[in-house]
């Protein structure tokens, strides 16, 4: 992968090629940061004893993020290929607001056909067991016709024990976002999230990631593995600064809050920028803070006890198509795993905002890819204390 990157970077790429390869470069950043990715080849799940697709019950149950199953912004195009194949079948969506709540729900026994967790939780999901049997099973990549076109480094991050447990589909950033008409940051920094000049107009994500962000702001050596003393300091810092916050957002309500003027500044994902800019016609700035943005990648997992094995593969195939990738980038500002997406058709403003024409956009220290937090329970407990304090 690194050789491929060097080859790409040593060539004089046209802007078209540069953008085209941006998602591959992003994948390299993900790979570099993903400690748990393995070097083993892709494994195939068994398909021999399964009933044919015609005998499957259908009505696929998908456990996905808010914004990926409610079709509020036309996201149904992401699974259009699936609907083309099974036009008479409805998909049953259950949406979640963050990785912890989705993981807890599945750990507590809820089952679906397909789920969409994020990379820093992949290992936890693979480790889940149900009476001794694994909760997930690997995908049979030969059933996903788009798989050869997917970013190899991203897909490698979805491999465990030599098998493809996750079809990595999307990636993106997290950074401060603000209304340019209302806010004048003193500097490009995460500190905007606790700028007292805008007290009452700021929203934080309801997630322990706020502790990580505070860690980056304070120059903690490794915000994903903070010591007890560092965590205590970050907790107290956030409790102290919480007074400037109006509410903690959990889903797409943050987009509405920007639109109504309830909020001027927020911890945000690219989708909030695209929704605010394109749908709500707001003058939003997605910041590149001096401490670095954080970034993430997510992928589809297949449940072990699914009766919709082939349906699930068809769904993953639809999601990873170039058409889905095009839509995802253009409408949510999220990167996509399909490398055949024609990125030149994107709005130049979008490309500039997310630096898609910059091959180093996902490199440290400019961007920090989310990593597994070994002591997530401690982080979580402290974040709950921040909220309740």
């Amino acid at each position: 992968m690194m050789g491929e990157l060097e080859r790409m970077l040593s060539q004089r790429l046209g802007r078209r090629d540069f953008i085209r390869y941006a998602s591959i470069v992003g994948g390299a950043g993900v790979l570099a940061a993903c400690r748990r990715a393995t070097q083993r080849p892709v494994g195939d799940g068994t398909t021999l004893t399964r009933p044919p697709v015609e005998q499957e019950p259908g009505a696929l149950e998908v456990f996905d993020w808010t914004g990926y199953g409610d079709d509020v912004y036309g996201d149904a195009i992401l699974w259009k290929g699936y609907k083309n194949r099974f036009p008479a079948e409805d998909i049953q969506y259950t949406v979640f607001k963050d990785d912890d709540s989705s993981y807890v729900k599945v750990a507590a026994g809820q089952r679906f056909d397909v789920a969409h967790p994020c990379g820093y939780r992949f290992q936890d999901w693979v480790n889940l067991e149900d009476a001794g049997a694994p909760v997930l099973q690997p995908w049979d990549t030969s059933l996903i016709s788009n798989f050869p076109n997917l970013n190899p480094s991203l897909e490698q991050a979805g491999q465990f024990n030599g098998q493809q447990y996750f079809i990595v589909a999307d990636w993106g950033f997290a950074a401060p976002m603000y209304l340019a008409d209302k806010v004048e940051p003193r500097e490009d920094s995460w500190s905007l999230l606790w700028d007292e000049r805008y007290s009452g107009k700021i929203s934080w994500w309801d997630s322990l990631n706020m502790l990580v962000v505070a860690g980056y702001y304070h120059g903690v050596p490794d915000p994903w593995a903070m010591t007890d003393a560092e965590l205590e300091e970050m907790k107290n810092f956030l409790i102290d600064k919480k007074k400037v916050v109006r509410f903690f957002w959990t889903g797409t309500e943050i987009d509405q809050a920007f639109k109504t003027g309830d909020v001027y500044i927020a911890y945000a994902w690219p989708a909030s920028w695209t929704v605010g800019t394109y749908y709500n016609k707001l003058n939003l700035v997605y910041m590149q803070p001096k401490e670095g943005r954080t970034s993430w990648y997510c992928g589809f997992a297949l449940f072990n006890d699914t009766d919709n094995y082939y349906h699930a593969h068809e769904y993953a195939n639809a999601w990873t198509s170039a058409r889905s990738g095009q839509w995802l980038l253009a409408n949510y500002g999220y990167g996509h795993t399909n490398t055949t997406v024609d990125l030149t058709k994107l709005d130049p403003g979008l490309v500039e905002t997310f630096s898609l024409d910059d091959p180093t956009v996902l490199d440290e220290p400019r961007t920090h890819v989310e990593r597994p937090i070994e002591r997530r329970d401690v982080y979580s407990e402290l974040w709950e204390e921040v909220k309740a304090a």
Partner: protein, 299 residues
């Protein structure tokens, strides 16, 4: 009364035990499986007898001790919720009493039509009713827009405490509960012996004096019931604070919800839940005594 009717009236009411057991088994099984068993499970989680993850610590009273001794922040949050619920309950009862009074004593015709109108909001989604307040109270909402239009406030300076505050939570909770609370007050006043009011009037008492000395004392059981109906559920309320409370409206119920769904800490969540359940049980027992439930049942 005919002989036949009298005989029917005097027929023994004692049923055979299989019949009694058969009639009771359904509700008892329901209670056992859907109330007692879950409570036992939550209790087991609270002391580590059960755990979500195999790596969680075993049996321990650590979380109970931290909570009850005030080492954790949740006891403070509990008292904050109690204060908010008390405020809401008192305000709601005060506002609902005139409604119940008007329906029971102020109207003779169409009182049940009016009652239906009052409880009509219950026919719509709870979520919808709460979210509607966002439209009314937001920075660009109905109230602030009127302020801007009338020149009372500048568009750059909306009244920000209208939304995402404790005030908002209490306002919305009051709105949600008023129709429900008016019902027990209405029923009490409806069953009031009108001859007592006439007697007070005949004896020269003013309407105000009649209200204070006769109507209000005789309707106190309804008032108390109304208070309980609001106070107990709102202590554990979490939907309204989640939607319109912001960081200042965060309540005890939100902490329980978050600990179970987000915090990966079912043990602490179970401690908080059981404590709330215990408090509610005690309150119910206390208020039940004042409400003379047994008398109502035997009547």
């Amino acid at each position: 009364m005919t002989t036949e009717t009298a005989a029917r009236t005097e027929a023994p009411r004692v049923r055979s035990w299989p019949t009694t057991l058969g009639l009771l088994s359904g509700p008892l099984l329901w209670l056992a499986f859907f109330f007692l068993l879950p409570v036992v499970i939550v209790g087991a989680y609270s002391v580590g007898g059960l755990s979500l993850f195999p790596t969680d610590a075993g049996l321990s009273l650590f979380d109970w001790r931290r909570f009850l001794t005030g080492e954790s922040i949740y006891m403070g949050l509990f008292w904050k919720s109690v204060r908010m619920s008390l405020t809401v309950s008192v305000v709601v009862v005060i506002l609902a009493y005139p409604i119940g009074y008007f329906l029971a004593l102020g109207t003779k015709r169409r009182k049940y039509v009016l009652l239906l109108v009052i409880i009509a909001p219950f026919l719509t989604s709870y979520l919808l009713r709460v979210l509607a307040w966002k439209v009314i109270l937001g920075d660009a909402g109905l109230v602030n827009s009127f302020m801007f239009w009338s020149g009372v406030r500048s568009p750059d300076d909306p009244i920000s405490w209208l939304i995402y505050s404790r005030f908002t939570v209490m306002l919305v909770l009051a709105y949600v509960w008023i129709p429900f609370v008016a019902l027990p007050i209405f029923v009490t006043l409806e069953n009031l012996d009108r001859s007592l009011l006439e007697a007070a009037s005949d004896l020269g008492a003013s309407r105000w004096r009649t209200f204070w000395r006769v109507t209000l004392p005789l309707s106190l059981s309804g008032v108390l019931a109304a208070f309980v109906f609001v106070f107990i559920p709102t202590i554990g309320e979490f939907v309204t604070p989640l939607l319109v409370g912001g960081i200042r409206g965060y309540m005890y119920g939100n902490a329980i919800s978050d600990l179970f769904t987000q915090g990966l800490d079912w043990q602490t969540g179970s401690v908080l839940s059981l404590f709330l359940l215990t408090v509610v049980a005690i309150l119910t027992a206390l208020f039940g005594r004042f409400l003379q439930v047994r008398k109502v049942v035997t009547d």
